[in-house]
């Protein structure tokens, strides 16, 4: 019994501790209109990673309240599940989608609803001819998501690391 009594405050404390830990997790910047695109090519594997405020992609950041909003979230999900339609890769490179993952509070079924929300889409592509990857074109992405004005791209390719800024007027990223 005494042991139990001793353990009680600890048990009560533990959720508080974890909550505090959460508060200390870093607050990432969140700028509407700007998204981050990370690309890494290693051998035949092309990792593609998009991080964007939900506002850029869908126009709201809260969980869908009504049927119309739910339909828009579903449409967005369908769109993001077809990355090769948003990001044009050279056909000669013969890249196919091997794996993908979508993250975002928007996609969760039930969630408490406050603050900003980001959407993260990660893709893994396998390219039969990675040496033919000369450039990729995000014109379709900018056309589909006009609220995105700027993509800050980080690229790791055979020539090393590079940064680039893509805009609707300059949607091509050279490898």
């Amino acid at each position: 019994m005494r042991h139990l009594l001793l353990a009680l405050p600890l048990a009560l404390l533990s959720p508080i501790l974890t909550a505090q830990e959460h508060e200390h997790a870093s607050l990432r910047t969140h700028e509407h209109g700007v998204a981050i695109l990370n690309l890494a090519l290693d051998g035949q594997i092309l990792e593609l990673n998009l991080e964007s405020p939900a506002m850029n992609l869908i126009g709201f950041e809260h969980a869908p309240h009504n049927e119309e909003e739910r339909a828009r979230v579903a449409a967005l999900r369908a769109q993001l599940e077809q990355p090769l339609e948003l990001v044009a890769l050279p056909a000669a490179a013969a890249c196919t989608l091997a794996a993908q993952e979508l993250e975002g509070r928007l996609f969760a079924e039930h969630e408490h609803d406050h603050g900003h929300s980001d959407i993260r889409a990660s893709y893994r592509l396998t390219c039969a001819h990675p040496e033919r990857l000369e450039a990729l074109d995000l014109a379709a992405f900018f056309a589909r998501f006009p609220a995105t004005h700027r993509l800050a791209a980080q690229l790791i390719g055979p020539a090393g690391q590079r940064g680039a800024e893509l805009t609707p007027d300059n949607p091509r990223l050279l490898f």
């Binding site: 997790a25 870093s26 890494a40 790791i156």
Partner: protein, 421 residues
């Protein structure tokens, strides 16, 4: 073709002016190409200050700030990071190697950097070149050993075995010297053309030993002092470092690890991709680079205008030449195209001579520039961009030559054969 022969013949008649014009164009072309080549090579060499490092990690601040103090030894860190954080990520399964960096002391204006032997094995610059020793070896277990960068050794005239005293802080005139714990030079690195040349490298244990008896920012006095001999016996484990460099097993994991470091709960850390930060930094300095390019373009334009002047002034004295050509049956457009061809021939000769001058200059200065500034100027054929520039110059010359051609055309119509002598 016979028109071109005529144009060359006419030029040969005025070879002195023609030669000067060609020379002016050649010099301007050479300057433009040299600026272009140095510009692109400077960019490449800047980008290759650090190579093979996948991530640089420091206290959370800005990416440029972190890059500047960890790689270029400019400015200071806002905060140090815990040794535990370094160990946590050095032992991470995705990490192949980790180099700790500890900054803060100096020697006669040159920065002192505390690091581990991994630095000499894994730090790469240029196109993946490792650090090489021009003399001696890396520091070993004795904490009071120092390895000099090439420029430090050359500028201060240090040899192997020399004993030097480091200063606390980074001001070039420092009041507090670590004179109780001198270091001996055990190695000198070969020149790299990077900030490594301007750095003194000591072990982390050495860095710790320097400050082991310091309290509240001042060295202890009297009995509190710990001598170099005593320090050697102590366990010299740093509690904090300034930054660390990471190399990964797979480049594709870079972003995932970057994210993990940036979200590390232990303390606020910032991980940056050196290649991306370097590019960001270069784009800040891009304005000066653009200015240089514009100036050299203006020099080319001056050369071309000089040619235009020479042709225009020659028009008057060549009225007879034109008249004779007309008398033997040349049409006005023959006369006009003669002038266009002349300008083309002059510019082409200028461009070719300019290229020859450029390669001569590169061949002559290559070694010096490489050793002095770490800039490698290749004796390569002009690239697509350079060909485009040369083509533009030729087109501009043709365009400019339309002016004297048009005047000659009008004159030969009006003057005909009724020239007054």
């Amino acid at each position: 073709m016979y028109l071109f022969r005529l144009a060359l013949g006419s030029l040969a008649n005025r070879r002195f002016t023609a030669l000067l014009t060609v020379l002016a164009i050649a010099l301007s072309v050479c300057l433009l190409l040299a600026v272009e080549r140095v510009r692109s090579e400077a960019r490449a060499s800047f980008a290759s200050t650090i190579s093979g490092t996948d991530l640089i990690v420091g206290a959370r601040s800005g990416s440029l700030n972190l890059l500047l103090y960890s790689v270029f030894r400019i400015g200071n860190a806002t905060n140090n990071i815990r040794w535990e954080s370094f160990q946590h990520f050095a032992e991470h399964p995705r990490v192949k190697w980790a180099i700790p960096i500890s900054l803060g002391d100096s020697h006669r204006g040159y920065r002192v950097m505390g690091t581990s032997p991994a630095y000499f094995a894994h730090y790469h610059y240029g196109r993946g070149q490792p650090l090489r020793f021009s003399a001696g070896r890396a520091f070993a277990t004795d904490p009071f050993e120092v390895v000099l960068g090439a420029e430090v050794a050359e500028a201060l005239g240090y040899q192997l075995g020399e004993r030097i005293v480091l200063a606390h802080g980074v001001a070039s005139v420092s009041l507090v010297q670590h004179d109780d714990k001198p270091f001996s030079v055990v190695g000198i690195l070969a020149r790299t053309g990077t900030p490594v040349d301007r750095t003194l490298h000591i072990s982390l244990a050495g860095m710790e030993a320097l400050h082991v008896d310091w309290h509240n920012g001042v060295p202890a006095r009297g009995a509190g002092r710990i001598s170099a001999e005593q320090a050697r016996q102590m366990k010299l484990q740093p509690k904090a470092i300034t930054a660390f460099l990471l190399g990964l097993h797979s480049k594709a994991a870079t972003f995932a690890l970057q994210r993990e470091i940036n979200e590390y709960r232990g303390e606020p850390l910032l991980a940056i991709l050196p290649g991306v930060a370097l590019q960001e930094l270069w784009s800040l300095m891009g304005t000066a680079e653009q200015a240089l390019f514009v100036v050299s373009l203006c020099v080319v334009l001056t050369g071309l205008i000089g040619m235009l002047t020479a042709i225009l002034t020659s028009l008057n004295e060549r009225r007879r030449e034109m008249a004779i050509l007309r008398s033997v049956g040349a049409r006005p457009w023959h006369v006009a195209s003669l002038l266009v061809l002349e300008a083309f021939a002059l510019t082409l000769a200028g461009v070719l001579l300019g290229l020859a001058l450029l390669y001569l200059a590169i061949a002559a200065s290559q070694g010096y520039v490489q050793s002095r500034y770490g800039l490698y100027l290749p004796l390569a054929l002009p690239g697509a961009h350079e060909w485009a520039l040369l083509g533009t110059i030729l087109c501009a010359a043709l365009l400019l030559s339309a002016l004297p051609a048009w005047r000659a055309y009008r004159q030969s119509l009006a003057d005909g054969l009724t020239i007054r002598l």
